[in-house]
């Protein structure tokens, strides 16, 4: 997971650490999530819908194209088979009409007719003539069926009502699958005779299997009871039962979808062949037919997957970048706002201090002069001298009190001057600096607190510090912030060491060491970041050190920190002898 952490954008943690008065304006994580969600939906939804529509449309159109082709196949084959049967029936009818009864009864003549027939048409195996009583009067062919009585057979009885018939396929006496065509010829004396010829199903089989059909197609004939009439490729032998329902009668070629024995979808195309007991059945494997569609479909799905991935990556990357930029800008805005607020606050404090000092100075000056005048009177006129020893004592006592008043006035004057000094250096001016004086001045603001909290302050300033140029006000702020921080880190009885030494041409270095609570190692890198604070609950803004760092940079200085938890912290400030050119422009 630590691998993922390095990809985690900066804003991810925002809002968790910033509590208190300086909260973030936005919840970046939620913005990020919403933006990704919305943009993803807006881009992916149309893509998915279009793909789904296209998918269904393509599937349907390929399916209907296949259905149409199969229907066309079916109706063509039906016509072919129908023509085949029609041809043979017509041939028999022609023979029956063209020959007299006597001719047909004669086996020799009949053999001649059969020979002609076999030469003209394929498939005729034999030829027999049956009289009205159902007796086969003459027969020519590979079997000896002459004299056979058909009067009890159903087909013969049917012949009384119709002129011709085609039988189901059967094995019969011949013991090979065949069907027979009968044609009736009515004679002048009112009787009739029937011409009967067997036709090998090989003919039909050739016709059906010679077709070039796609999709693992199987074309064969069944009778109306669903018994298979011609050899099949995948649906069992002749006389087996069709595994599907027998289609209901229809003039037209019909198609429907069924499941085969393996549970796969198949198209079953059926057509009733007119004037025959046969139904043409074409079974096509749907899976095989839709194979081109499957290839297209895989391409389509790949395209979709790649598009979605690319879109999501772009959305993800762009949103993260935008939200992060927003976050960084907001951070910068907040930092600027706080810095402004901070310097405004300092300026107001400065103005307030100056105002107070000025107001206080005038009455102080009056006290000073009045007390001074009283003292002068006692000094020059000595009005109590007349009272002798007692007067002298009184004079001395009054002079002591006046000196005390004058001393107090002088102390007040120092305080107001210090305040005025502090206020005066709010503006940026580069001047020659006495670092020792600045350190003393800053400490003078804090020495009451130090006394109160029993903190020992040791100042060790080397005597060989060269005078250097810098900004007095900024230096005051820098030292004030760092020493304030050190005070905050220490308990009662702490110890603060300030050590200033020269670095020769490299400048001046000041080390401020406290023995306070220290800074955790993980936090050391962050203490100069704006808004980093371990004291947010006590009202810390996390800006003090960040501002200090900024001021030091402006002065061309550097700061190093070393700290141990529980032992204390050292800030080492390095200042150049001359500030960088940019800060003097102001």
């Amino acid at each position: 997971m630590s691998f993922l952490k390095q990809f985690r954008p900066q804003f991810w943690k925002a809002g968790e650490s910033s509590s208190g008065p300086f909260r973030q304006m936005f919840n970046y994580r939620s913005i990020w999530q919403k933006a990704i969600l919305l943009v993803s939906i807006a881009t992916l939804l149309p893509l998915l819908i279009i793909t789904a529509v296209d998918y269904n449309y393509t599937e349907k159109s390929i399916e209907s194209e296949n259905i149409l082709r199969t229907l066309r196949n079916g109706s063509n084959i039906r016509r072919t088979i129908s023509a085949f049967l029609q041809e043979r029936r017509s041939a028999l009818t022609f023979i029956a009409k063209d020959n007299t009864r006597e001719q047909l009864y004669k086996a020799v003549h009949l053999q001649g007719v059969l020979n002609n027939l076999q030469e003209s048409f394929s498939g005729f195996v034999d030829l027999g003539v049956i009289n009205q009583e159902g007796k086969q009067v003459s027969y020519v062919g590979p079997y000896s069926l002459e004299g056979k009585d058909y009067s009890n057979q159903e087909w013969f009885r049917e012949m009384e009502r119709q002129n011709f018939a085609i039988s189901d396929v059967f094995l019969g006496y011949r013991n090979s699958p065949h069907f027979v065509i009968e044609a009736k010829q009515s004679l002048a004396d009112g009787s009739f005779l029937v011409l009967r010829s067997a036709i090998d199903i090989v003919e039909l089989q050739d016709l059906l299997h010679g077709l070039e059909l796609s999709g693992r197609a199987d074309a064969f004939l069944i009778n109306r009871q669903g018994i298979i009439q011609t050899p099949t490729l995948y649906h069992g032998d002749v006389f087996a039962k069709l595994p599907y329902q027998v289609p209901p009668f229809s003039e037209r070629t019909e198609i429907r979808e069924e499941l085969n024995q393996n549970g796969e979808k198949v198209f079953v195309c059926s057509a009733y062949i007119p004037l025959s007991p046969y139904i043409l059945v074409i079974v096509k494997d749907k899976g095989e037919l839709m194979k081109p569609w499957r290839d297209t479909r895989i391409g389509l799905i790949w395209f979709l997957v790649v598009s979605v991935t690319v879109i999501l990556l772009v959305v993800f990357g762009f949103t993260t970048y935008m939200v992060n930029s927003m976050y960084l800008l907001d951070q910068r805005r907040l930092a600027t706002l706080h810095k402004m607020e901070y310097s405004n606050k300092l300026a107001s404090i400065g103005r307030l201090a100056a105002g107070v000092a000025h107001e206080v100075n005038n009455p102080l000056a009056i006290i000073n002069e009045k007390a001074g005048l009283i003292k002068d009177i006692f000094t020059y006129s000595k009005p109590l001298q007349a009272l002798g020893q007692e007067g002298q004592n009184l004079d001395a006592t009054i002079t002591r009190q006046l000196d005390s008043i004058l001393n107090s006035v002088e102390r007040c004057g120092k305080i107001t001057k210090r305040l005025l000094n502090f206020a005066r250096h709010m503006d940026s001016t580069i001047e020659t600096i006495d670092l020792a004086a600045i350190v003393r001045e800053v400490l003078s603001f804090l020495h009451k607190e130090a006394e109160y909290r029993n903190i020992t302050v040791n100042v060790d300033i080397a005597s060989d510090i060269p005078p250097f140029k810098s900004d007095r006000g900024k230096l005051q702020q820098i030292f004030l912030n760092i020493i304030n921080n050190a005070f905050a880190a220490m308990d009662k009885g702490g110890r603060l060491d300030i050590h200033v030494k020269t670095l020769g041409a490299a400048g001046v270095s000041a080390t401020i060491t406290d023995n306070g609570c220290g800074i955790a190692e993980a936090d050391i890198g962050k203490i100069f970041e704006p808004f980093f604070s371990t004291k947010t609950k006590q009202g810390g803004t996390g800006l003090g050190l960040s501002i200090t760092y900024g001021l030091l940079l402006e002065l061309g200085g550097k700061v190093n920190v070393s700290s141990k938890v529980g032992e204390g912290t050292s800030f080492i400030i390095t200042l150049p002898l001359e500030p960088p050119a940019t800060s003097t422009e102001k």
């Binding site: 000073n368 002068d376 002088e410 007040c412 005025l420």
Partner: protein, 120 residues
């Protein structure tokens, strides 16, 4: 040595004049700029100690008027205000710039310095 003291704080400036008189100086005081100009017209003052900020006329304006009429006059500014602008302006025009409250001995030392420098 004749000294002119100008300050809008009457209590302060009168007491200061009295103390200077006790020390043998001829010290006159005024609490307005107009009165100060009148006094300057009547007497010849070696040094004028002026407040920086007075109602109506500022110390700097008064100093400019006085210096115009009395080129020999020297100036010391005495103020309760410690603003940087006043400080740099005052330092340019006057010999010294002192912040209230000031010890009378310090003031006398500065006055002597100024007059001494004037004499040289």
């Amino acid at each position: 040595m004749r000294i002119l003291l100008v300050d809008d704080e009457a209590e302060f400036v009168s007491t200061l004049a009295e103390r200077l008189t006790m020390r043998g100086y001829q010290a006159d005081y005024s609490i307005t700029a107009g009165n100060a100009l009148d006094l300057a017209a009547k007497h010849l003052y070696d040094v004028a100690v002026l407040d920086m900020k007075m109602p109506g006329t500022s110390g700097l304006e008064l100093q400019a008027k006085l210096a115009e009429k009395h080129p020999a006059m020297r100036f010391i500014f005495l103020t309760g205000h410690g603003s940087e602008d006043d400080y740099s302006a005052g330092s340019r025009q006057a010999a010294h710039y002192l912040v209230k409250p000031v010890d009378i001995n310090t003031l006398i030392a500065k006055i002597n310095q100024t007059v001494f420098a004037n004499d040289r």
